[in-house]
Symmetry: C2
Subunit: 104 residues, 2 copies
């Protein structure tokens, strides 16, 4: 899907890591939520509340998922899933454009 | 307005200056368009097609508008207008969150 229709967008950005990670929140009519964001190159550690599906639209990174010892390479066009109530690490190699879906 | 309702959001980001300037496009039912973006610190030169109203939601920058010799300081909560078919320069001092309205 190239665009989201009939949605609500929160005007103000979500800003993390001094702006190296930013996103906008998109709310859907069914009550679900996604964020559309940008990851600048760098190393990040994030925690989840709900389960998340991270779709990488463009870019390149290494990801360490909860319970994994090794890093997995993820490029534009690929996705990864992070369980609820867990932590994951990203080592972003090239600026990455993402869509994160929160699964209640 | 803290959020935009019943809009269409283009999923993929607009990326300029190696990702130091990024935005998402929001389309309104009346046919109008805005972008919600992030400016990382740095110096940028942009051209306009339509007239633009740049609302700085958060951040700090110097702006040089077309036909002006001097730079004007703009902070979060302030806006500036750029005529159609012109160029303007920004010297972004602190990461800035903006909403740009395109006036046909």
């Amino acid at each position: 899907m190239a665009q989201f229709e009939n949605v609500t967008v929160i005007k103000k950005a979500n800003v993390y890591y001094d702006g190296k990670v930013t996103s906008r929140t998109v709310l859907f009519q069914d009550g679900s939520k996604k964020t559309l964001g940008i990851l600048m190159p760098g190393q990040y550690d994030f925690g989840t509340d709900e389960k998340e599906i991270m779709e990488i639209l463009d870019g390149e990174m290494l990801v360490k998922l909860p319970g994994q010892d090794s890093w997995k390479e993820i490029k534009g066009g690929q996705s990864f899933e992070v369980p609820a109530k867990s932590r994951f690490q990203m080592d972003v190699k090239k600026i990455s454009d993402y869509c994160c879906s929160y699964i209640a």
